[in-house]
Homo-oligomer: 331 residues x 6
Amino acid sequence: MARPIILFSNPWTDLPLEELAQKANEWGYQGLELACWGDHFEVQRATSEDDYCPKKLELLGRYDLTAAVLANHRVGQAVCDPIEPRHGRILPDYVWGDGAAHGVSQRAAEEMMATIRAAQKLGVSVVIGFTGSPLWAAVAGYPGPSPAEVEDGFRFFARQWEPILDVCRECGVRFALEVHPGQIAFDLHSAEMALDALGGRDEIGFTFDPSHLHWQGVDPAEFLRRFPDRILHVHVKDIALALNGRNSILGSYLPYGDPRRGWDFRSPGRGGIDWEAVIRALNAIGYEGPLSVEWQDAGMDRDFGAEEACKFVKRLDFDPARRPEGAFRSA
Amino acid sequence: MARPIILFSNPWTDLPLEELAQKANEWGYQGLELACWGDHFEVQRATSEDDYCPKKLELLGRYDLTAAVLANHRVGQAVCDPIEPRHGRILPDYVWGDGAAHGVSQRAAEEMMATIRAAQKLGVSVVIGFTGSPLWAAVAGYPGPSPAEVEDGFRFFARQWEPILDVCRECGVRFALEVHPGQIAFDLHSAEMALDALGGRDEIGFTFDPSHLHWQGVDPAEFLRRFPDRILHVHVKDIALALNGRNSILGSYLPYGDPRRGWDFRSPGRGGIDWEAVIRALNAIGYEGPLSVEWQDAGMDRDFGAEEACKFVKRLDFDPARRPEGAFRSA
Amino acid sequence: MARPIILFSNPWTDLPLEELAQKANEWGYQGLELACWGDHFEVQRATSEDDYCPKKLELLGRYDLTAAVLANHRVGQAVCDPIEPRHGRILPDYVWGDGAAHGVSQRAAEEMMATIRAAQKLGVSVVIGFTGSPLWAAVAGYPGPSPAEVEDGFRFFARQWEPILDVCRECGVRFALEVHPGQIAFDLHSAEMALDALGGRDEIGFTFDPSHLHWQGVDPAEFLRRFPDRILHVHVKDIALALNGRNSILGSYLPYGDPRRGWDFRSPGRGGIDWEAVIRALNAIGYEGPLSVEWQDAGMDRDFGAEEACKFVKRLDFDPARRPEGAFRSA
Amino acid sequence: MARPIILFSNPWTDLPLEELAQKANEWGYQGLELACWGDHFEVQRATSEDDYCPKKLELLGRYDLTAAVLANHRVGQAVCDPIEPRHGRILPDYVWGDGAAHGVSQRAAEEMMATIRAAQKLGVSVVIGFTGSPLWAAVAGYPGPSPAEVEDGFRFFARQWEPILDVCRECGVRFALEVHPGQIAFDLHSAEMALDALGGRDEIGFTFDPSHLHWQGVDPAEFLRRFPDRILHVHVKDIALALNGRNSILGSYLPYGDPRRGWDFRSPGRGGIDWEAVIRALNAIGYEGPLSVEWQDAGMDRDFGAEEACKFVKRLDFDPARRPEGAFRSA
Amino acid sequence: MARPIILFSNPWTDLPLEELAQKANEWGYQGLELACWGDHFEVQRATSEDDYCPKKLELLGRYDLTAAVLANHRVGQAVCDPIEPRHGRILPDYVWGDGAAHGVSQRAAEEMMATIRAAQKLGVSVVIGFTGSPLWAAVAGYPGPSPAEVEDGFRFFARQWEPILDVCRECGVRFALEVHPGQIAFDLHSAEMALDALGGRDEIGFTFDPSHLHWQGVDPAEFLRRFPDRILHVHVKDIALALNGRNSILGSYLPYGDPRRGWDFRSPGRGGIDWEAVIRALNAIGYEGPLSVEWQDAGMDRDFGAEEACKFVKRLDFDPARRPEGAFRSA
Amino acid sequence: MARPIILFSNPWTDLPLEELAQKANEWGYQGLELACWGDHFEVQRATSEDDYCPKKLELLGRYDLTAAVLANHRVGQAVCDPIEPRHGRILPDYVWGDGAAHGVSQRAAEEMMATIRAAQKLGVSVVIGFTGSPLWAAVAGYPGPSPAEVEDGFRFFARQWEPILDVCRECGVRFALEVHPGQIAFDLHSAEMALDALGGRDEIGFTFDPSHLHWQGVDPAEFLRRFPDRILHVHVKDIALALNGRNSILGSYLPYGDPRRGWDFRSPGRGGIDWEAVIRALNAIGYEGPLSVEWQDAGMDRDFGAEEACKFVKRLDFDPARRPEGAFRSA
């Protein structure tokens, strides 16, 4: 299918956007998923400076790239998380402020609203990101959450995100929650619960990233078939398990690239994801949005990898049948 | 090997200890692992009332049971955890107090010291329990911990537990940290780090429960062989994976017994643990402590299960070779 | 759970019922599933002779056995099948008649109605059996059935069985279609279609026999959880796959016991069925009917096997939790 | 090996042959396997019109294509099948006639003889097709065939096909029975029986299509090594299993492309066939005939797929060793 | 099947035979497989002293034991092996002599003939043992054997063993070569070659020990079905693989019991052998000889294990069907 | 990583070196690993003729090839092996001499020293080869080696190789023992023992060839991570297992290419080696030497295969991350 193949700018936020744009174009990409951290896309300037968005688009246009989606994982994380010092590392100063929990969450929610408005200005209809979770520490931990605590957690989640989704509705933008550990929705059944908590309203959907499902034992294609009209965005990212009896699926606090981890991210096509099944399921549910390479591989040069990934996704993305299904049969 | 087979009293804290003791004896157990919650064993009374421990021992003795170990998971959890409301559910009132984080942790640490002293009074040389963890929310979550944050977390852990271990040394008691999600040590490599953080001091070791390692992909026998002289206690508990493409290893907030969970605990011998490998590894490292049934199975009657479990462990526990190894060879 | 453990009389129809009853009692069974072929249970005599059923019950009663269910697979098969000479082998003469297709089907349907009435007389509330299928030759064959042909096939099935189910309603008996290759319902999705074709009426349900699902790749426990209130009867029968690269799952026309087959039936507990999962799923859906051993194993003496099977099922059948689920949690 | 890579015209019978020929040439194919249905190849015209075959060859020649084999699965199916209405869908009117069973089979047999003669006229030495089977409904169904019925079935098969093979001998053509469910030979052991039933005469052999063996659990390479001199034709077709506990290997009457099926055909290289093993076994037995792409994939555009498949087969088909085997050894 | 269950005396050659006999009887065994080393059975005395055999039988008879087979692996090994110093460890002094290769082999062959004669005197019809191999060092080693060297090796084997088998014929004894690494026959195909080398003469057959096949990847039941009338003796011995990425199947020179080995022997039922498949295959080929426990498990007390093994084999050994196969069919 | 991709000349020793050099250049190789048998590289001439090495280098230079390493497996084998006639097949006449064991070993050791000196003359810093083993016949054979015999074997190994390694030190050359069945080091743990036996001296290291580890069940990447600074050379060679129940891992004396073997070598990328894991482990340990294709595949034309292999290795060999590890993290 002729889906746009784009690159998530996150791993190159150390470079000026123009430098990345030039590379992305050479590597064969058709657009960027802009990270709202570093200076690739600055939410506050986008909302306050009239020419900020047009200039970004003009810059991308010079390299035949579109701005397909905005990504604001970092700020989204602070909307529902119990705030800890490590959040200070990933938030803009003006959101972190004095680091007092309630204020941080409040400012994070406002920044997400601003992100939605900035997306509208940029002409982008999907914002993706994290949500944080008041329940995360209890998942797999001790004491586990009681049913009442789970219910409370989802109520809190809804209370925090409803106003942001109201802005979405206003702006004609949808929010694509990335299903990911640490978020309110991290697997198939919790994704169902998150939709339910928001009454299944139109503005919410999912960013599908098979790598985060794989190590949890969830089949990515089952996830796609379960939510045919809620897949708003797709990350192309691979992962390899490395269980040898001593390594664990939870990774022992070890950094990416350490062979003692139970899994590690991989350049697309070099891990355990069944991409054939993924693309067939995307075809089956009629997903027509971008395929966005979120490149991450601690064992490979990033520029080599990004170029290879683009070629990989092009080979992967084929057209579904145009003829009536079952029109002929095995002979 | 003639290891004592005992029963962890936790699932029966709704019954008076005497009622459980009578059952445990009938089922074939030789001792109890007493839970320090409910009224099976009350730490404050044990330290303040001179006849508390003798009376417990006398009660147990009537049913031919010994008091092999004391278990105080719940209070231990609060020593290093960031305190959340759900901790209120599991702590005694006098530890929870007003629920203000710093005070709770402080009182929890003191209660653990009291538990050690109570153990000494009861004539028990091993206290088992949880430790809590300042890092848990970051494990598998987002943002993951930076190396510096990991280091800080272990330093905090050591600072909190060193004084408790000092009491251990004083009392001739060892503390057997249960390697378990939610604790500072939850898999093989994090268990190494925890020992390192405490300088490998003598008073610390592990409670080995293979069920918690299994779903993380860690081979329980590898764990045993890695820490031959740190296995202070053994929980016999089983677990079955139920991955079918939709269920996840993190369990989607679902309670035990729900078939949508990716795993569930099972009565010993009815799950996926390779007990043959476990008992051989225990023989190989020379573990001579009790085999303590921590019975938990949401799909089975607990009394039926506890009796079956005792028989299972008796069949399981065989003697290693008494002859010199390699004394004969295949013919 | 204290479910009755009974024996399907089919493999012993060469013996007088009394001889089998005596053996069944010695082996530990509590009842029989009577086959309506041979002379274990004769439908026509049961409906026409007033003392036939009381005498059967009296005979069984002498050996402490109940008549739990009636089984009429053979006649049921002819209700929807295109009639071929091999049906002559399994039908009573008065049903087969001249073997002309339409008449055979008609008489088979009437005999099934008679079976229902006989069941009522015997005091039995479940009749089990086959249905035959107008579509079977097209399943996996060539040309496969078109959607319209599938629809027609199910319409034909409903037309044939509705009158029989009307008699069921009249008599307070339910019909438990055995999900089995060669029948209208042979796997999970076709079982859904069969229920739909009958408008989900109350009188229809399934005989669950995991052996027939296993070689098709269907997880028996998934089947149970899919139809919690339609499981009317359970066959305990095992099966072992024997795929070695040359054998095939369809079995090459070879008789049971030939090692060149891709699978073969086995005495319960000696094959590939995950009985632990089956019994837990039966507990979870609240099935309280009999566990009926359908003994078949071409490599074992039948009497030895039937006795062993009874002991196996007794060990297997445990009580689910009586306490509120999730009442305690891992410590 | 420089085997011709050809395309089976079946999936494009909705197009005029010339249109397909042009595409096939552009995609890289060297010949066509002509389907004897639709107007790609009309048996009656070929035998009655002197210039029919030369004109077909001339048309193909314009696109650098050869006519490698003729395929007449549909008519062959009716030679041994019990005739049902669904056969009417696939037979030419003059073979179907009034649909009365005996006459249909008779005319089908005559049409197969005509196909052999047409092949001779076209200069083709292999005709491939189905045989039908009097036993199919009993395979995996109920009641299964008795040994005597199996014997009768094979006798009937021989009686029907002997005269057709006599025409083969006359014309210097061999018949390549496609081993496929619904045929007298559908797996390895039944293929042995079919050869035996025909006394192993020279005119009979097999069309090898690994996709039909794979879901039955048969290793395609074992099949090839078992019949080294009976492999007359090869279909390149792939298949993917999709067993998730609910889907079944028999497919529940569902059309291709439905994710609830237990397997589905795939464009070559995108399924579960071990093509490396297949090509090595073909090399080992010295097969030198065409590799014929039978393209079928309900999830992919057929033109995209056919082009990709041609490239895939070219990459696949390598030369075996030309040097004496074992001439050097690992160092 | 009521096959005799016997115990191989090898692991207890440090005890006087009478002490072992008493134990074996208490453990439930019905006979012994006597080792021809140590003093359990002394070949030279048996052939030269008239009352040696009667006394042995009388001793065994006191404990209700029969002398079912004689085992002389150690001397057999020297018949075809290139003699190395390690052979000195396992041979009687009078066979080893000065250790000069040719003489050792010669004397070993003569001792095997004496063993056959001793067997006759003892009333035993099967002698089991090793053969040694002139080719072993080249198997898996470097340089591998050329076809001519393989042929030479088998010729040498035949030349050495023909005279011994001649004595077998004379004495009415058969020799059951144990298929085992280090012997001329160590897997299925090499067992075929060994039979061929001896022209398939009647006096030769195999001792089947599944443990030695398992780690080589050979399915023991396939071996049995391949040689239905050459299985003269059966060893019941188990084995567990322990491959974790670092361990190797060849075992790194490590002694039994070392967890760094890739496999280790196990008490029967505690390893990876599929005993259900083994016993069914033994039933299918009609093997009626003894089931001889060759007990070896570096991690278990030998007396505990031998008793458990006897019970295990009793449970294992069931009767095959006594009725005509296929006499009834699935309903 | 820009590692040189070279070709081991062994399979083309029937061709003049110049002919192979021309082909290797056309296929894309950058150098050769010269075999010291046949006339590709003649040790005695290299040491005695001053212009031998310069002429070789000049010849290679004409085809843009370097001489990266010298390989002398055949002579090395005889240094520690018990000498058998089959060694005569692989040794130069002047080493074999009269074939008397002691002299052969002595001359083999001297030839290895000469090889080292020749390497120095050729400007090559690594010589690779086999070592032979006094213990091989006892590995997996019978009787297995006693601990004392193992110790003696390693002592003998050290005694034989120390003088050769002394010449290495003198010449600035390292010896890369190929870990391979038949050698003193054949798996991970035996490789540790071999290093220990030589006191871990600098001149010794390993040639890593994953194909020899794979069939033993050893994970090649674990091997690399175990010996990060001892990997001196890498062979790129693939292997496929073919275990079907009858074939065995030890191969039954059968030549390469026989489908009854349990495994066979394969052209790189066409077997079971996880090359992705291998290249990542090589990157992780910082290996910067050549990747040497040791081409061997009994089912493929060698020239076709060698060209394909060169392309395969080029695609395989990617650059590791140049940025600080963990510099960004999943979003």
